[in-house]
Amino acid sequence: MIVAAAVLLLEVSSGSAAGGASAPPAVPDDTIAIIVNQSNTIDDLSLKDLRTVFLGERSHWPNGRRITLVMMDPGLSERRAVLRDVCRMSETEFSRHFLQGLFTGEVFVSPKTLSTSVGVRKFVFNVPGAIGYLRASDVDSTVKVIKVNGHRPEEADYPLRIEVRASK
């Protein structure tokens, strides 16, 4: 108990907000990083603008490049978080939205769907107009992370997070 209390004190003094030593370990609060190609000049998008991009309502970046959206496979937690927080749609609604957009011609290109974070990174690295998402912990220097609503993924006010469930 003494050791535990000492460790708790140490933890508090180091400025960590991780909670007491007796608290159950929480699942890491992974954020969703929005990534673009390194050549993309965009640094920041509002959640509203991000939504128009992810719903295919914007087809080009300001530099003229066509936007290519990369989504992860249905069922993955990253995709669920993006559908919930960015698109505000269910899986079915999202599929139907894009199908109808392509059908009417308003959406110029359908999203690419990839199953792994490596695949997403690789795609965004290779395609200048690509935009996708990853867990922040899966990001590397081959892609560029953009701010959302002016916040970077490591900041507290960053709006895109995978739902956290406390472990028992």
Partner: protein, 468 residues
């Protein structure tokens, strides 16, 4: 660059860096210490237990420090790999063909061991076809419907009926060019203003849309070919897919030309569209020029002028609509269409079609309202024929069920020179859509029709609509 040499359980340290490592270390120790401490208290006196625990913790700290040093070394290697990767990015790379993975290239520059041991890299080798953006792929999506319908209208029989089989074909020709078409197989005779053409029960093929689209930016897109005229909302929202539509069929106002429709649903020519910089108002425009609709009366053949226009006048259509950001799902717009028609044995006719719509569509609710005025003015005379028409449709979704109601109205003069058979017709429709799966919808719809100079009649339609 991700490290490829560490076990998954250790990733948390390498990902967050040395600063986090220092902060997480005591936390990890605390977690480890608590159960150990409690266990010890039950066996030996408290002071001895604390000494033993401290000793054990010191040993663990030593081990962890050694491990941290090892991981920091790995991070150094990773940092070098990132530098290599950054250099790869700076070098010009071809846009065509499957590009080598940066992870692969960086890993090649670091250790062969990392390459062979990482399952993620093996995964990369399994999906090369997804990275090939250069190939022009033909994508086909299908829509279809099968019906059973009955009516108490004179001369009609209860029948199973095959609806349109629609192959929606698209292809990305290049970054800015795209091909789009709807190839529709449909049975039954065409019907141009109550003049049947073709054989009953025989299948025919129509290329309903045939477009090459050029996308310059969000503000300017150009399409050439055969398109659906941007009159109102319905015509460009549902095209030839009954599965997309809530109801079993289009409003009479927007019936296709070969089903007796009164509007120039299709056109062959050019169509420009895009956003208008308007901030939260979300304004869009559509500007079209094409051959327009054939006007010889009576019509017994294809009314869409796919190849030859009957005159040198071109049909023009201008449409504008707003999708306000503040009310997502709302679209309000209007359009103006103009063409010159040259029916046989009649003076040239000036055709003007004005349309307005207010539509609110969200996944759980829809309310469509459209009104159209078709004006035919005979050249050299004072004769003008105005045909007003509207429909309103409302639907609410309850899970997989979507009950709906529609009321429609068309009022054409008995002497209307272009569509003399239409006259006045109006009536309600009531129906229920049930989405049996994401791709299959079952619908049942009851229609009641009131028509001038005709007996009122009602009909029931069961429909299986699907996409594949």
């Amino acid at each position: 660059m991700k490290s490829h040499t560490i076990a998954p359980a250790e990733c948390v340290f390498t990902r967050v860096g040395s600063g986090w490592t220092k902060r997480l270390l005591p936390l990890a120790l605390a977690v480890l210490a608590s159960p150990t401490c409690l266990l010890a208290q039950g066996v030996v006196p408290a002071a001895d237990a604390d000494k033993q625990t401290i000793q054990m913790l010191l040993q663990r700290i030593e081990k962890l420090e050694a491990r941290v040093s090892q991981l920091e070394g790995t991070q150094g290697t990773t940092a070098k790999a990132q530098t290599v990767s950054a250099k790869i990015q700076e070098a010009p790379r071809p846009l065509s063909g499957p590009a080598a993975s940066p992870a692969e290239e960086a890993a090649t520059s670091t250790t062969a061991q990392a390459q062979s041991s990482d399952p993620e890299q093996e995964m990369e080798h399994l999906e090369p076809e997804r990275m090939d953006m250069s190939k022009t792929l033909l994508r086909i999506r299908g829509f279809g419907d099968i019906n059973f319908r009955g009516s108490n209208q004179k001369g009609s029989t209860n029948s199973f009926a095959l609806g349109q089989l629609n192959l929606f074909v698209t292809s990305d020709i290049s970054e800015r060019f795209k091909f789009l078409s709807e190839i529709v197989f449909e049975s039954g005779p065409d019907n141009f203003y109550n003049v049947p053409g073709g054989k009953r029960n025989e299948f025919g093929v129509d290329v309903e849309r045939y477009l090459v689209q050029y996308s310059y930016n969000d503000y300017f897109n150009l399409a050439a070919g055969r398109y659906h005229t941007a009159i109102g909302f319905y015509n460009t929202a549902y095209h030839h897919s009954t599965w997309f539509q809530t109801t079993t069929g289009r409003p009479t106002l927007f019936e296709f030309e070969d089903s007796g429709g009164i509007l120039p649903i299709h056109n062959v020519g050019l169509s420009a569209s895009g956003r208008i910089p308007s901030g939260p108002l979300g304004l869009h425009y559509v500007a079209e020029i094409g051959n327009g609709r054939q006007s010889r009366s009576p019509l017994t053949e294809e009314p869409v002028q796919n190849e030859v226009d009957e005159n040198n006048f071109k049909a023009v259509n201008l449409a504008m609509f707003a999708r306000p950001e503040s009310i997502r799902g709302l679209q309000i717009g209007f359009s103006g269409y103009h063409d010159k028609l040259m029916p046989i044995a009649l003076p040239r006719i000036d055709e003007t079609i004005l349309a307005a719509h207010a539509v609110y569509m969200v996944p759980k609710f829809e309310w469509l309202n459209e009104v159209v005025l078709i004006r035919h003015a005979l050249d050299g005379t004072s004769q003008v024929f105005n045909t007003p028409a509207f429909y309103t449709q409302i639907a609410k979704r309850f899970g997989s069920y979507q009950p709906y109601f529609r009321y429609q109205y068309i009022n054409a003069s008995d002497h209307e020179p272009i569509f003399p058979d239409v006259r006045r017709m109006e009536g309600p429709s009531l129906g229920l859509r049930y989405d049996a799966s994401e791709s299959v919808a079952l619908k049942v719809q009851y229609d009641y029709n009131v028509a001038r100079h005709q007996q009122n009649y009602s009909g029931l339609n069961l429909q299986l609509g699907f996409t594949f």
